[in-house]
């Protein structure tokens, strides 16, 4: 632990205080994300209560296996991110590099599968709008709209995550992270795990609506 800690911004008395402040700040940001996605969950909640049959039918149009596979992929990416965070606390930069790369690859796999699902919806005339399959039950198009909006917003967050991971990979290769200063890894980890949690709720709500 001989690497120097990051110079403290003048307001902080010690590193521990800054560390807690970082966590508080990050969690406050994640609270905003809960409310941001929350608006969509409200819409889902209201419309599913209003159109239960149409929502169940909508759930059948999704690909159960790809959804389940994707959930496992994201859970795996959370594991690799958590491992990476643990490794850098031990100073093992190469292990962190592998973990970051794994997380990024798994994230990319998720997005690729998502893209294939979107394409499948397009092929089945299930894109909302003028091309939507005629004679659909009221509420089915609402389900599909919510599906695309919720998973689309989630996918956007994952894309941002991939971009940040590219930056972290580069920083780590330059030796910027040490056991004493690795806040970006820890803070990014919180973000990534949170995005995973959003999916953990999206999965049953979208893919597993009971008949």
């Amino acid at each position: 632990m001989s690497a120097p800690a990051a110079p403290l911004p003048e307001a902080y008395a010690d590193a521990r205080q800054r560390d807690v402040a970082n966590h508080l700040g990050m969690w406050a940001f994640l609270a905003t994300e809960i409310l941001f996605f929350g608006g969509l969950f409200l819409a889902y909640f209201i419309y599913r209560s209003t159109y239960p049959a149409a929502f169940a039918a909508g759930s059948r149009t999704l690909n159960f296996w790809r959804g389940t596979f994707n959930t496992a992929v994201l859970l795996g990416s959370s594991l690799s991110m958590a491992l990476g965070d643990a490794y850098i606390k031990q100073g093992r930069r190469r292990a962190l590099q592998v973990c970051l790369a794994t997380t990024a690859v798994l994230g990319a796999v998720f997005l690729a599968v998502k893209a294939s699902e979107y394409h499948e919806m397009y092929a089945k005339h299930l894109l909302p709008g003028r091309g939507f399959e005629a004679g659909a039950a009221p509420g089915l198009q609402l389900f599909v709209l919510l599906y695309f909006t919720m998973t689309g917003l989630h996918a956007f967050h994952m894309l941002v995550g991939l971009g940040l991971m590219a930056w972290l990979l580069r920083q780590n290769r330059r030796g910027r992270f040490t056991p004493a200063r690795h806040a970006p890894i820890e803070m990014f980890g919180l973000y990534w795990h949170f995005v995973d949690c959003v999916w953990v709720f999206l999965y049953p709500l979208l893919y597993l609506i009971p008949r």
Partner: protein, 95 residues
């Protein structure tokens, strides 16, 4: 907090539990459904999220204040859902 072998073990175990819960929720969805299906799948999702929050996001090691910050968003979301539901569920009531 010095990382030890126990930490890594805990991470792998948690991952195993998460996958296990995923298998359960996927399997249950193939059973004939009932009033309990959605509450159960949401309960399982909550359990997964709780594991991710406490273990992967290290909430179990954080001061109480951090844990409050982590949970306050859900509480506020509950307010939004409850009061909005008060409108939607009473619009045509009594039917």
């Amino acid at each position: 907090m010095p990382e030890s072998a126990a930490t890594f073990r805990r991470l792998y175990t948690t991952f195993g539990a998460l996958i296990g819960l995923l298998v359960v929720t996927a399997a249950v969805s193939s059973l004939p459904s009932g009033w309990w299906s959605t509450p159960l799948s949401l309960l399982i999702a909550t359990a997964k999220a709780a594991l991710i929050f406490t273990i992967f996001m290290r909430l179990r090691d954080q001061p109480a204040l951090v844990r409050i910050f982590a949970l306050v968003g859900f509480f506020w979301l509950a307010i939004m859902l409850t009061l909005a539901a008060a409108d939607y569920f009473t619009r045509f009531w009594p039917a």
